[in-house]
């Protein structure tokens, strides 16, 4: 991965390595400054922008377990939907304050993560894929059948949000929604970036490379997996809560298998295990869907499938991985 060449063993200090990675690069600053552009140049795309920010946060949370720890989850939408319904129901019940609502979504998803983490650490490989999928399907069925609470198929209606910080109303043009989503995304990104570049983050990468060898060097794999699973679920819940609050609606679709599959696609498209992969993947995916889905949703799936096959076969590390390889080749030649 992006670990720089280690100096001679005698002088090697892992903290230097981590410190080097924590440092901000110019490209990163530029990237985050660019996220402010829509306010100036494309105000009509702010609604789409907040969708991208939400998907990016969701993909970022999935990257923690898929990209960094090497576990496959086909049911991450369980947390997303759980957070969305928590935030939505809270607002519907009369407490429409966005920030505390988002915290409630985070806590709810964290509790769900805590409860399911006991199951997750016991299994691996194919069974893990199936259990994550099964848990998500279970929640979907519960939400579908609990019509009195969630509105079932029709979605959760009647969500009314109070103005953000008592000042900014959620307007039709998505100005508040985009700013709000962006700030939450950036805050979460900072936390997760710090987490990844910590000794804990390194131990996750160790688990990805060899889960059995990690305990031998004093890092309990299953505890680490549980912790990261809970953290990942929490951030997915925040993303779901954001969606519920900014759209003032929760569709049953928030818990669906398609949602889990889509977010996995975004992550892999951008490049798993490299923080910005999920962000870039979400951006490309949602813009492409916005452009192509106008034709016909069926065709959109065709192109999505082809794109997915092409990325897996030709760009095993996603678009960002491909860029990094090109850059490395170019540097070597120069």
């Amino acid at each position: 991965m992006s670990v720089t060449a280690a100096p001679a063993i005698g002088t090697f200090n892992p903290r230097d390595l981590l410190r080097a990675q924590v440092k901000w690069r110019h490209l990163e600053t530029l990237f985050w400054l660019a996220t402010l552009l829509p306010f100036l140049v494309a105000p009509s795309y702010l609604v789409l922008g907040s969708q991208i920010a939400i998907a990016a946060l969701f993909a970022l949370s999935l990257d923690l377990i898929v990209g960094y720890s090497g576990l496959v989850s086909l049911g991450h939408a369980a947390f997303f939907g759980f957070g969305a319904y928590t935030a939505g129901l809270l607002a519907k019940a009369g407490w429409g304050e966005p920030i505390t609502g988002l915290m409630a979504a985070a806590i709810a998803a964290m509790v769900l993560g805590y409860l399911t983490s006991f199951i997750i650490v016991r299994i691996s490989h194919f069974a893990l894929i199936m259990v994550t999928l099964g848990l998500c399907l279970l929640l979907y069925e519960v939400a579908n059948k609990a019509h009195w609470l969630t509105g079932g198929d029709d979605g959760l209606q009647g969500v009314r949000m109070w103005p953000l910080l008592d000042m900014f109303r959620f307007d039709l043009y998505g100005r508040t929604a985009y700013a709000y989503s962006l700030v939450v995304l950036f805050g979460s990104f900072l936390i997760l970036r710090r987490l990844i570049n910590s000794p804990f983050g390194l131990s996750l990468r160790g688990i990805r490379e060899n889960a059995r060898r990690m305990p031998a060097i004093g890092s309990p794999s299953s505890n680490r997996i549980r912790t990261v699973y809970i953290i990942s679920g929490t951030f997915a819940g925040i993303a779901g809560g954001l969606l519920a609050q900014t759209t003032e609606f929760v569709a049953l679709d928030a818990l669906s298998f398609q949602r889990s599959a889509e977010i996995l696609v975004m992550l892999v498209l951008g490049g798993a295990g490299r923080l910005y992969g999920g962000l870039v993947g979400a951006l490309i995916f949602i813009v492409a869907r916005d452009q192509l889905a106008d034709m016909n949703p069926q065709y959109w799936y065709f192109w999505l499938g082809l794109l997915l096959i092409a990325v897996i076969v030709f760009l095993p590390n996603g678009i960002l991985g491909g860029c990094a390889r090109l850059l490395a080749r170019w540097r070597r030649r120069a």
Binding site: E141, V142, A272, I309, V313
Partner: protein, 288 residues
Amino acid sequence: MIARHISLLFDGFAYGMLLFVLSVGLSVTLGMMNFVNLAHGTFAMIGGYTTVMLMRSAGWPFFATLPVAFIGAAAASVVLERVLYRRLYRASDLDQSLLTIGIVFVSIAAAAYVFGTGQQPVQLPGYLRGRIEFGDFSFGLYRMFLVASALVITGLLVLGLEYTRFGARVRACVDNQRMARGLGLNVDAVFSITFALGSGLAGLGGALGIEIVGLDPNFAFKYLVYMLIVVAVGGLASIRGAFVTAAMLGVIDIVSKYYVPEIGAFVLYFVMVSFLVWRPAGLFARRT
């Protein structure tokens, strides 16, 4: 009253047998190569559409289309295996899942483009329609035919695996792929043939299932979950496991939807997750 319960159980069993034919190939190929093939439903769909097309445009009788459905799905799987799957045998679970999900997306869109999004009914021959009455009991003729076919297929599979040279090779490759390779077995060739046979069975299942579960472009996704449950709960590469699990799954699904429709598929998923937590390698795992 009792008679109705028995009929319901029989319907569930027949449905389970259909699931068995659909998923047994996936079980064996997953167990052999550890390749997570989520596109198995696509092969079933190819079989289904082959039957529909032959009956509708060429006027073939139902039975004549079944071998073609088998061969069509098997041929499609050979092409995909050669072109795409082969590159990813040593890749991660994630890459394999995503590649095959990509194939499912493409196949759904292609089927919708060519055949439209509606259901594709078939006209069964007269002697398979209607029901047989035994006193109070009443069984659908087509379901009886389905159960009989599934039992014949199971018998052939067991005989083929236990008593033929090729079956011995398949078992060797499943039990220990590296050792089999070391002994000079051409594991890749064995896998290709098994994969084609398994996909062909899925195609046959897709054709047989039109009458029971219908056929539309979303088939590849809708029944994927059922196939995966059969494979995961039954245990990889275990024909006995797939058979028992499929029968159980069919009965649970039909009975729970009949008696407790308000909780729907909840029971099914709950049973699956509990079984997997209890026995992560499946109920009848050959390996742990």
